[in-house]
Amino acid sequence: MGTRILAVEDDERIRTAVKLALEEEGWIIEEAETGELALEHFHRNPADVVLIDIMLPGIDGFEVCRSIRRTSDVPIVMVTARVDTHDVVAGLEAGADDYLTKPFAPKELSARIRALLRRARTPDHAAGSTLRFGDLELVPDQGMVRVSGREVHLTKTEFRLLCELASSPGRVFSREVLLERVWGYGYFGDGRLVDVHVRRLRTKVESDPANPRHVATVRGLGYKLQG
């Protein structure tokens, strides 16, 4: 069975065209016209990827995103109208994994989805084992993260970001490298993706997210993971 994508878009013509184009690319598309319908549909029948337009009548895209995030780690792609405003950051903070700006090329969307569906990179030496960084434990094979023995739930992208950092503890990863390895972007990827995801990760794995112990910022260079 193929990968199922739930596309939430109120404009019927766009919905139809995107559905046709994505089906050409081999995905299975399920449609929802409003946020309410999307949530109902998702809870009944969770998709593998969700595509949400921010501008929706009724509850907006941010709210749909937050609702889904309460119960699911499914990859979410936001469709925004503008790159510049805080829409992008707000969407990422609501739990989206990536974003696209309207109008986008369907091939670009396919590439984004494929990148988000990639499996977490398991550090070679850590197959089947548990990695420990102080009170932070990471079991790559099981996709499990524990802080002080208590399991925390990460989204798939947060988990892949953590695994990437854990693949070489103490090494500084630049935004460009993380964008490429986690999101599949080139040089011109949006560094805010990394920044917001690191922020989200910290609220989950740090006891004091304002003074992170594990996911450290190296000014002007990037991020690193430490014990």
């Binding site: 404009d11 065209a17 995107v18 046709l20 090329a105 040089y187 011109f188 949006d190």
Partner: protein, 489 residues
């Protein structure tokens, strides 16, 4: 005020034309209103104080001289009576008599007895000190007389009184030196002159101050107008608490308000339209990609048509994005996402991503560590747009080069096209201005926003952009972007 029509060279933008006409309304070399008010006040004060001083001087002078004259005459009569009682007497004792007389300062009493003059002080000039007319009137006609005259530039007053002494031909004279009075008058004249000068200066100062005060609201208005022209549309004048000028502030603010609303409405309109265009574009982009997937199944004519639509949708999308970016600039809503960028790496990436990856890149050796703080994606648009421009109007870029200079880096894109004439080098960065080249090159090329966006992006990065001749002297254009470098980097 007459409007002089200035000759505006062809190719000057309408705005410059309008400015030219407005400037032409002011005749050259005319004094400003403040200078004119100051001058009027000064001249008025000068006239008034001169009249006052002259009147004062004239009146004082005649009063002073008259009083002195009366004094001298009265004293002379008193002395004459005293002399009369003692005449005739021996010439040897005449001096004692004269010395005993009470005479005003600067006075020289003279007694005439039987044709001989007996002065108290020796008269250097002899008897002629008494002018012949005076002697004649007093001695011959036997009448008292008074005469004023100058002796060697010193004013003199001479009073003569015939003395009725039996059998003796006698008269009494007094010659008074009036130089003291003249000195007083001169001092007065000087003081009056000084006062007049001071009054004139004070008048001019008053005029200057008053005009400044009166014109201050105008200065405020001009400052506010400049601020508005500079883009700060929310500039307003503080209310002027003056019945004559209050309406100025009110109507100026009304005008500014109307202007701001109108400009914002226009900007919003452009932004709204562009946003509205996104939805149909999205549909078209998705639909055409479906068709593109089935391209092989189409006949050749169908494929050609499909390629056209695909290319046009791409251009359309670029236009909408450019328009949106431009309206963001108009609304002042552009927020850069500044990052430390290693320039050498950036340029390689930007050229690689631009669709002109074959253009050679020339890097200075000392660029390795050069870092600029910039919005990566906007700066990449600058590079891409310059390459686009070279492809459309310059027969393709021949090189992208970067040079490191003191505190700045210069990124240059060169082509071997016809170049840009001097008078178009500013205009070329205006919106929808394709310069004189558009006619020859076919107007369907480009959308005319590329270079305008380049200018806006570079400006927001604190840099400058210009176009010049190629350095090697061949035909062609050289677009240069100059950006400040991060000193710490």
């Amino acid at each position: 005020m007459t409007v002089t029509d200035l000759a505006v060279p062809d190719g000057v933008s309408p705005a410059a034309r309008a400015r030219g006409v407005l400037l032409g309304g002011r005749p050259a070399r005319r004094l400003g209103i403040r200078a004119r008010i100051t001058l009027s006040f000064g001249l008025g004060a000068l006239l008034l104080s001169t009249i006052l001083a002259a009147t004062t001087y004239t009146l004082t002078r005649s009063n002073l001289v008259d009083a002195r004259e009366r004094n001298v005459v009265r004293q002379t009569y008193l002395n004459a009576r005293q002399v009369l009682q003692t005449l005739p007497r021996e010439p040897e004792t005449m001096r004692d008599l004269l010395a005993s007389l009470q005479t005003p300062t600067g006075s020289n009493p003279i007694v005439f007895q039987d044709g001989t003059a007996f002065p108290l002080q020796p008269i250097q000039f002899g008897e002629d000190a008494l002018l012949p007319e005076l002697r004649r009137v007093v001695l011959t006609d036997g009448l008292p007389a008074l005469m004023r005259y100058d002796l060697d530039g010193v004013p003199q007053l001479a009073v003569g009184i015939p003395l009725a002494v039996p059998d003796v031909d006698a008269a009494y004279f007094e010659i008074v030196d009036l130089s003291e009075t003249e000195a007083t008058l001169r001092a007065l004249g000087l003081s009056l002159l000084g006062a007049a000068a001071l009054t004139t200066i004070a008048g001019a100062a008053l005029g200057w101050w008053a005009s400044r005060r009166a014109l201050r609201p105008l200065a405020d208005v001009s400052e506010a107008a400049e601020a508005i022209a500079g883009g700060r549309l929310d500039t307003r004048l503080a209310a002027i608490d003056d019945p004559d000028l209050g309406t100025l502030a009110t109507s100026f603010n009304d005008m500014a308000q109307a202007l701001q609303e109108r400009i914002e409405r226009d900007a919003r309109f452009a932004s709204d339209v562009s946003h509205e265009l996104r939805s149909p574009l999205m549909t078209m982009a998705a639909a055409v990609s479906v068709l593109d997937g089935q391209r092989e199944g189409l006949e050749e004519r169908g494929q050609q048509a499909l390629d056209l639509v695909t290319a046009e949708i791409d251009r359309f999308r670029q236009l909408v994005e450019d328009l949106l970016e431009m309206s963001r600039y108009d609304a002042g809503a552009v927020r850069l996402q500044p990052e430390d960028i290693r320039l050498a790496e950036f340029v390689l990436q930007a050229v690689g991503a631009s669709g002109y990856r074959d253009v050679p890149i020339e890097l200075d050796a000392d660029l390795a560590g050069v870092v600029v703080v910039a919005d990566k994606r906007r700066l990449a648009r600058v590079v891409a747009n310059l390459l686009d421009n070279a492809a459309k109007y310059g027969e393709g870029a021949t090189a992208v080069s970067i040079r490191n200079a003191e505190g700045v880096v210069q990124l240059a894109v060169e082509d071997l096209g016809p170049g840009v004439p001097e008078d178009e080098r500013q205009l070329i960065f205006d919106r929808f201005n394709r310069g004189g080249l558009s006619g020859r090159r076919g107007s369907s090329e480009g959308v005319g926003l590329g270079l305008a966006l380049v200018a806006e992006h570079v400006r927001l990065h604190g840099g400058t952009v210009w176009v010049e001749d190629r350095i090697d002297g061949r035909d062609g254009a050289r677009f240069v972007v100059e950006l400040p470098t991060d000193d710490a980097g």
